[in-house]
Symmetry: C2
Subunit: 428 residues, 2 copies
């Protein structure tokens, strides 16, 4: 990790990785062609792309119920039980969320907002080693809690079959149908619909560069979740923090990807030295040590600050996706944090507790977007419609104000629509 002695906010320049802009012209053009082809040729195009990109000849696109039931027998019962326990916690936390409808009455009339769930959503689940059953839970459960009628999952076909833990997680979370399609073609199918795959209102879930670009291109036809950048963790620690635990938590993030960013911010120089030593020790036996070491070398930062206030000054500037508070009084920190996706308070709130189990979501804003974005949550699967009922007397009383504003903007027909309600002579 790189060492930084923080004095002023300018010292952080350069740490801030720019948000993702997937602006690769070749990928963009390939994706455009795939979208058009699926829109035109439907299922035939999906089968063709599966043959070309996945090397799989598909009979059915839909995964049959029997395959999903069989998946339960193919994995360790402890995994099934752990997924079920995690799902219970995730349901519990998400059931406390969501937008509420309201109606307010006053002499002018009734005014309200009606909240409804999206009708159908699509969840993209990557194939291979990036097929995380925990992400299936985290994507599908908020949609289920919101009341989405139909949750469609797509995942690339695999010669060896879909990861059974992914199928079990989908079943536990309440996914309604699973199709073995992947890549930009899966995003196209969910956006435009094919003979087999129904079109959806929103597509969520991570994918490779083609999937990300496809989501970017279909945004507007359907809604999407934000396109995620590399993951990141920030840790605020004082001299009471345990260096072995801090190091383990940094590694748990760094093992994901060489582009992961890690930030350890403290007032205690000794802790930094101890963590550095611990990292070396723990890396020695870590299966994914190569990835983690690269990530720490390129994007790992140890930041020494002078005051407690600077702990928060630095971390609010970073706006990390995950933020651990390893302080003597962790709960007192909450008020001082302005920007973070998910905050882990205290020694026993190690990040994997939240990644897998505790209940809060693990799909979080990355790359500093916690300044303006939220964790995936129930409101992401709801929408609002406004409504108003207006009393005749209120319109009569306010028609002058309304027509004045309309005419100020040069929109005469707007003014006349109001005046049409009060004609000189009643018309039918």
């Amino acid at each position: 990790m790189k060492r930084l002695n923080y004095q002023t906010p300018a010292d952080l320049n350069g740490l801030q990785q720019d948000a993702q802009t997937a602006d690769n012209a070749a990928i963009s053009q390939t994706v455009r062609e795939i979208l058009l082809t699926v829109q035109k040729n439907g299922d035939d195009a999906l089968r063709q792309y599966s043959q070309t990109f996945d090397g799989v000849t598909l009979a059915d696109l839909l995964v049959p119920a029997s395959t999903i039931q069989a998946a339960y027998e193919q994995i360790d019962p402890a995994v099934v039980a752990s997924l079920q326990a995690a799902a219970d916690n995730i349901f519990w936390f998400h059931e406390k969320q969501g937008l509420q409808s309201f109606e307010a009455t006053r002499p002018e009339g009734k005014f309200g907002i009606k909240v409804t769930p999206l009708e159908r959503v699509g969840i993209y689940v990557p194939g291979g080693t990036a097929a995380y059953p925990s992400s299936v839970l985290m994507n599908a459960i908020p949609a289920k809690v919101a009341g989405v009628s139909e949750i469609i999952m797509v995942t690339p076909p695999q010669k060896e079959g879909i990861n059974p833990a992914v199928l079990v997680a989908a079943d536990i979370a309440g996914v309604d149908r699973i199709y073995t399609i992947g890549g930009a073609q899966a995003v196209a199918a969910l956006t435009f619909g094919t003979q087999t795959v129904p079109k959806v209102d929103k597509i969520t879930g991570p994918g490779n560069a083609y999937v990300a670009e496809a989501k970017r291109q279909v945004y507007g036809f359907v809604d999407i979740d934000m396109i995620a950048g590399p993951s990141e963790i920030g840790i605020i620690a004082d001299e009471t923090a345990k260096s072995a635990e801090i190091a383990a938590d940094l590694l748990s993030q760094a093992e994901h990807d060489v582009r992961v960013r890690t930030f350890l911010v403290t007032t205690d120089a000794d802790l930094l030295a101890a963590v550095t030593a611990e990292l070396d020790t723990q890396l020695a036996t870590l299966p994914r040590a190569e990835i983690a070491r690269q990530s720490l070398t390129d994007f790992g930062y140890q930041i020494l600050v002078q005051t407690d206030a600077q702990l928060y000054e630095v971390m609010n500037a970073i706006a990390p996706e995950h933020l651990e508070i390893q302080l003597t009084e962790p709960l007192a920190a909450l008020d001082k944090i302005r920007h973070a996706g998910s905050i882990f308070l205290g020694r026993y709130a190690s990040e994997p507790v939240g990644d897998y189990f505790a209940g809060p979501n693990h799909i979080l804003p990355t790359s500093g977007t916690a300044r303006f974005s939220s964790p995936l949550n129930v409101t992401d699967f709801q929408k609002m419609s406004q409504y108003l009922y207006y009393e005749p007397a209120a319109l009569a009383q306010n028609q002058g104000a309304i027509t004045t504003l309309a005419r100020t903007e040069g929109l005469e027909a707007h003014a006349r629509a109001i005046e049409a309600r009060f004609p000189k002579k009643e018309q039918s």
Copy 2:
């Protein structure tokens, strides 16, 4: 308007305008260059572009307080009073909105969501005839209610000065600073910051194709509101509806733009004939008749249905931005509407009541995106941070489930981070 006798949902194919995909390579490239230039040259670039695109040599970018105060004297006091009355209603409706923080405690620990406002937002207001003071109120008030610390408005410089009604609306709504910059360069300044213009967390408001493309390109660095397509209105009417009022309401939408879409859906063929006659009569004296006539000819639809159920079947398929219910019992319709941006119930809820005055927002999802998007509202200027505090005993109890899931996903360092809390021998 085109006449359609509705039988089945397939009859609506072709009416559905595709959502906007601003995919013009030349615009895209120009915008990319402008973004890079402003990022590099800051204020100098803004002055250069104002000279080139607006023909204005700027001294200060910031509109001084004296100019804003003077604007009150330059417009009819009735306009000031109407803007103030509208703003009061918009504040009233939006103060009922917003996400709520929560915290839930159970034996495992504390779990919550902390809701905070965005810190700084930018509002784009077009110049010339598209400078609508009502849109300034509708953009700024939800941000103000959310508790945004600083609302920055940008609007293109005009040789004749900024529209004073726009300045007054900004002042009433609580805009903190106004800069006379426009186009993609204004979006760039708000995204990256310059010597004068501070960077913001979100940019809202409509603009021309360059502004829309710039917002698309900066999405991810900052948040944006959805890029709006042409406006649209749907009207559900029965035989009790007044043809003159229906026609006036259709025209109030059609006068905006030749690409506006209008849909009149009814069980009463006589109403359609009467509305057609009324449209001709009213168009004869309408200042913007040319635009309205073109819009009605190209994108106006009169749809005759056989049953009351089909009224809603058709309208839910269209998912209109604005929806008027001109039925004998308008309030009873509310439960049957699944997709609409803003719903106007009854004879006296003519659309301009909501456009200008009643309190609900007029920035609404267009082009069928009401299936998954909401009117601009207070939650658009809020974000959530999750948090969790976990008890030591709970981690001890659940460590098996957590490490099982981590190892199932091949993420050994995640499992070890949990186990680091329970070492064989305590470490420091």
